[in-house]
């Protein structure tokens, strides 16, 4: 077809020529016809020339686009002509669209985007269920279970384990403690990942315990300068020679943390292969094609009872969870909640705009009437109004994207730790989303005004000073819009209030220690092969640190508080039957004598450890309050004894310490047992952490600490040097971010809703100025007028409040995961929210109502 000609016509002034030709053609026709039947007859025979021309233009085909361009240009002119109106509209939209864009980018990154594994949605994690204990319901599994499940299961293609590992890199440069995991050779095939360089280890290497490692892209770049001949290089890990055989691609990560640098063969020792109590493995499995997770759960439930029958605890079930859920964790709930909040905010913005446009379309009645009289059909008018809305939406989206960028920087901190530092960007997925949101928004807020505005009959609009353009139905519609947006704002405010209460509760939670001016770091002990040398090194370390100016005291604990779920053990009290082992689990920590005093822990009864607690056959222990309350409610546990194994020492309880949330700031304190380092010779735990109470800024002594410890041992690594406040803040970041975000959404929502109330009432006042004038002329006082408008605003607000509170009650139920076990009090939140809303609404009502009451009847009626 002659598309090309049409394109040529369209550009290079072809359009104008076409118009000219058409006019000439019509003129020619009229002239010829006039020769036969006279000028008047010719016109009558021809019909309406303007309408014909319009129909011809439509036949040209390009006109739809041209019309759109013309409407858009007109919309642009409108934007320029009413800067205040447009400014408000664009700012409102920018808030709504900016919020939802930023939220979507985070939501997309965490919950939609593919994870760096092949067919990641078929990956699941398998945990031991431990619901009987107070410590955790989902527990790590054992390598022995892995072996059995692998042999017997029918639902997985394969399973792999990942256990904590130690890796201290020494040799050239500073000794460095690297985050490492020990994994089975199946790890790579289960996840469906390949190394970027080199290879991964084989079943044979795993079984024989060959010293090979796969390293992360990050470590390769940082420590080895991205050298291409890294495969085959020998490095020194834990003072043993290892061969680097592969490098994982950039962006690869796996539970429990994104920063793992070393994967080494699991090489289970033979005792571990048979031991069903060594719970330190994460197990990940790939579902067979066509097997749903529900079926895997049923199948594994039966199998686990059979496998764990060998466990001394007796048979117990397993928990199967999708991998993505494990990685996203609580962030998932937070993101869903916040995304809903941003949708609510956008809805409020749209409702507000709809109201604004409704007011304006009433004011544009004359324009519409003129257009109708000139032959514009209703569809044409609706298209025009919608195009104008779209122009506003485009501007609003551009401004919104500008707002979204800083918002995304803020949201990056919400990304779960296991995923690492995700960089949120405005990529094509996010942009496509924003564009569709913009179009949807334009339709949402533009459609009602467009339909309403175009309905006007021309006679009515053209009549001078046309009154009563908005009938009762229009009031009803606009009032319900106000109620909707008020209700949404109330819902956001209430949810925000609940989160704020929770956050304050979390902030004020008694951590059990004093976190200010407390420096922490880790010094693993693998370099000291026997127990006595380890104790000697720890004491020497502490001595060095204490000697640093500005240090008040220093203490040692095998795992820094708030950072670790691990190290729990079964125990049995003196006098209990052996079977009670199975249900009694407590966290277990070893500490130096002065640890509790340094950390600022508080004693409930008894004593802390002292110099007299030396290596002995009758060791002592300190338990925390939850453990004491569990077994000795109302009595003193001092002097009571317990043991860990069937034939270990009996430990005597000498003190009860106030609870310290060892496994995390957001986790309820669990039963815990503390032993003094000197009496821990049965355990061969190689981890070690030091806490330092300082009189000066903790960060200022870091260099001195390094040099002090390196003066003892040049190859001793120091890892994770952090202040306790940093640790606490990091853990509070998810609740604090979600609270801050939801709070921001709620405040904006309130602002927009009050603007909406203000807008509707002041429009009503403008529209009814005449009526007010008449009423005042007939004797109504300004007080009565004020009241009548105020009452209407109040009624709308109250209706919105009631609906909003009901919505909030429903929403609150879906966010229990974000309340961290805390039960916020609804009463105060509801009261505060109601008061805030009423106060803001009162101002929003009062201003226009007061204007109404000040109407001068003489002026008002002169307008008539």
């Amino acid at each position: 077809m002659n598309v090309w000609r049409r394109i040529k016509d369209f550009g290079s002034g072809g359009c104008a020529r076409k118009e000219r030709d058409l006019e000439r053609e019509i003129q020619d026709h009229l002239t010829l016809e006039a020769e036969e039947s006279g000028w008047y007859g010719a016109r009558r025979a021809f019909g309406n020339t303007l309408a014909v021309a319009e129909n011809v233009r439509e036949a040209w085909g390009w006109t739809r686009l041209e019309q759109f361009a013309r409407d858009a240009a007109y919309g642009l002119r409108q934007v320029r002509r009413n800067p205040l109106f447009s400014g408000i509209a664009i700012a409102t939209l920018a808030l709504g669209i900016g919020g939802i864009t930023a939220m979507f980018s985070a939501f997309d990154a965490v919950l939609i985007r593919p994870m760096p594994y092949a067919d990641a949605d078929r990956l699941v994690m398998i945990w031991d269920e431990m619901s009987g204990s107070d410590v955790t319901t989902k527990h790590n599994s054992t390598p022995a279970e892995w072996i059995e499940w692998r042999r017997l299961n029918t639902v997985f293609t394969d399973l792999a384990t990942s256990q904590p590992g130690d890796a201290t890199l020494s040799g050239d440069g500073e000794p460095e403690q690297l985050p490492a995991r020990k994994v089975t050779w199946t790890f790579w095939s289960v996840l469906g990942v390949r190394p970027k360089l080199g290879r991964v280890f084989t079943e044979d290497e795993d079984n024989k315990g060959v010293r090979v490692v796969v390293i992360s892209h990050r470590l390769w770049q940082r420590r080895f300068g991205g050298s291409p001949d890294i495969a085959g290089r020998k490095i020194s890990l834990n003072d043993e020679p290892y061969e680097v055989i592969g490098v994982m691609p950039q962006g690869f990560y796996f539970m429990p943390s994104h920063d793992i640098d070393i994967w080494m063969p699991a090489s289970f020792p033979s005792w571990m292969r048979r031991n069903f109590t060594w719970h330190d493995a994460h197990i990940v499995a790939r579902l067979k094609p066509g097997v749903a997770i529900e079926r895997a759960r049923q199948s594994m439930a039966a199998l686990s009872l059979q496998v764990t029958a060998k466990d001394f605890r007796g048979p117990h079930p397993v928990i199967v969870t999708p991998l993505r859920e494990e990685i996203a964790g609580k962030t998932q709930t937070a993101l869903i909640l916040l995304l809903c909040a941003s949708v609510a905010l956008l809805l409020i913005a749209c409702v507000n705009l709809a109201n604004l446009l409704l007011s304006r379309s009433a004011a544009r009645g004359r324009e519409v009437a003129v257009r109708t009289a000139l032959g514009a059909g209703r569809g044409r008018l609706v298209a025009q109004f919608l195009t104008e809305s779209l122009v506003l939406a485009v501007f609003g989206t551009l401004a919104g994207l500008a707002l979204a960028l800083p918002g995304m920087r803020f949201l990056e901190r919400l990304v779960p730790e296991a995923m690492g530092a995700a960089r949120l960007t405005l990529d094509w997925r996010v942009l496509a989303f924003s564009a569709s949101v913009a179009i949807a928004a334009a339709l949402t807020f533009g459609l009602a005004p467009a339909l309403r505005g175009s309905r006007l009959a021309p006679q009515e609009g053209l009549r001078d000073g046309g009154r009563g353009t908005a009938g009762a139905r229009s009031h009803w519609f606009r009032h319900s819009l106000i109620i909707v947006e008020t209700a949404l704002a109330v819902m956001l405010l209430t949810c925000g209030g609940l989160l704020l209460q929770t956050f304050q509760h979390l902030r004020n939670t008694d951590l059990g220690i004093r976190s200010e001016r407390l420096l922490t770091f880790e010094t693993p002990l693998f370099r000291y092969k026997d127990f006595d040398r380890r104790v000697a090194f720890v004491n020497a370390e502490l001595e060095q640190v204490r000697g640093i100016p500005g240090v008040i005291s220093a203490g040692w604990i095998n795992l820094i508080p708030f950072t670790n779920f691990a190290n729990a053990t079964f125990y049995r009290l003196d006098g209990q039957p052996t079977s009670s082992f199975a249900s009694q689990v407590a966290l277990i920590r070893s500490v130096s004598r002065d640890y509790f005093a340094t950390a600022g822990a508080r004693l409930r009864e008894g004593r802390f450890f002292s110099v007299s607690d030396q290596k002995s056959d009758s060791p002592v222990a300190i338990v925390n309050e939850p453990l004491a309350n569990r077994h000795f409610a109302g009595q003193s546990p001092l002097g009571r004894r317990f043991r860990f194994g069937g034939n270990g020492h009996w430990y005597t309880i000498v003190g009860v310490v106030k609870q310290i949330r060892e496994s995390g700031v957001l986790e309820e304190a669990k039963p815990a047992i503390y032993r003094v380092l000197e009496q821990c010779d049965q355990m061969n735990d190689l981890s070690g952490g030091i806490v330092v109470r300082t009189a000066v800024e903790p960060a200022s002594i870091i260099q001195a600490v390094r040099h002090g410890i390196w003066s003892l041992d040049r190859n001793q690594p120091l890892a994770r040097i952090r202040t306790m406040e940093e640790i606490v803040d990091r853990q509070l970041s998810t609740p604090s971010q979600s609270t801050a975000l939801l709070g921001a959404f709620a405040v904006l929502a309130l602002l927009l809703a009050s603007l909406g109330i203000y807008g509707v009432l002041s429009y009503a006042v403008t529209q009814r100025t005449n009526e007010i004038g008449v009423r005042m002329a007939l004797g109504a006082t300004s007080g009565e007028i004020l009241l009548s408008f105020g009452k209407r605003g109040l009624a709308l607000t109250l209706a919105g409040l009631a609906i909003g509170l009901a919505l909030a009650a429903i929403a609150a139920r879906s966010m229990t995961a974000l309340l961290y076990g805390f039960r916020p009090d609804y009463g105060p939140t509801v009261i505060v929210v109601s008061l805030i809303l009423l106060a803001v609404a009162a101002v929003a009502c009062f201003v226009p109502a007061r204007r109404a009451s000040r109407v001068d009847p003489v002026v008002a009626l002169r307008n008539e």
Partner: protein
């Protein structure tokens, strides 16, 4: 509303066909076409002349007609329409189809768009 839209569609078909038929012998300008349609239906079908033009332009866009500005008597230029190859093919096809069910009863119709 719906009914009249249907009617327009129906009539548009007949109008298009009439135009194609009119142009079968050779090129003509708008006024000539209008007059010819009027005459050929014995004034039974009365077309508002104006409604012819959207149809002409539509057919031209579809490639059924070509057009050129020409002066026949060296006095005035008119826009002449002529059948294109595609238009001629359509005319043949439509003629056979149309004849089958419409020709028997032309009836009394008042043709006007709008």
């Amino acid at each position: 509303m719906k009914q009249s839209a249907d009617k327009i569609d129906f009539l548009r078909g007949t109008l298009d066909l009439s135009i194609l038929r009119t142009l079968a012998p050779g090129p003509a300008h708008g006024h000539e076409i209008a007059k010819h349609i009027q005459r050929s239906t014995d004034d039974v079908v009365q077309v508002e002349h104006g409604s012819l033009y959207p149809a002409l332009h539509r057919l031209e866009r579809k490639g059924r007609l070509d057009s050129k500005w020409e002066s026949r008597d060296a006095k005035r230029e008119f826009k002449y329409y002529l059948l294109s190859a595609a238009g001629r093919k359509q005319l043949v096809a439509e003629e056979s189809k149309w004849n089958n069910w419409w020709a028997p009863s032309p009836g009394l119709l008042r043709l006007s768009e709008g």
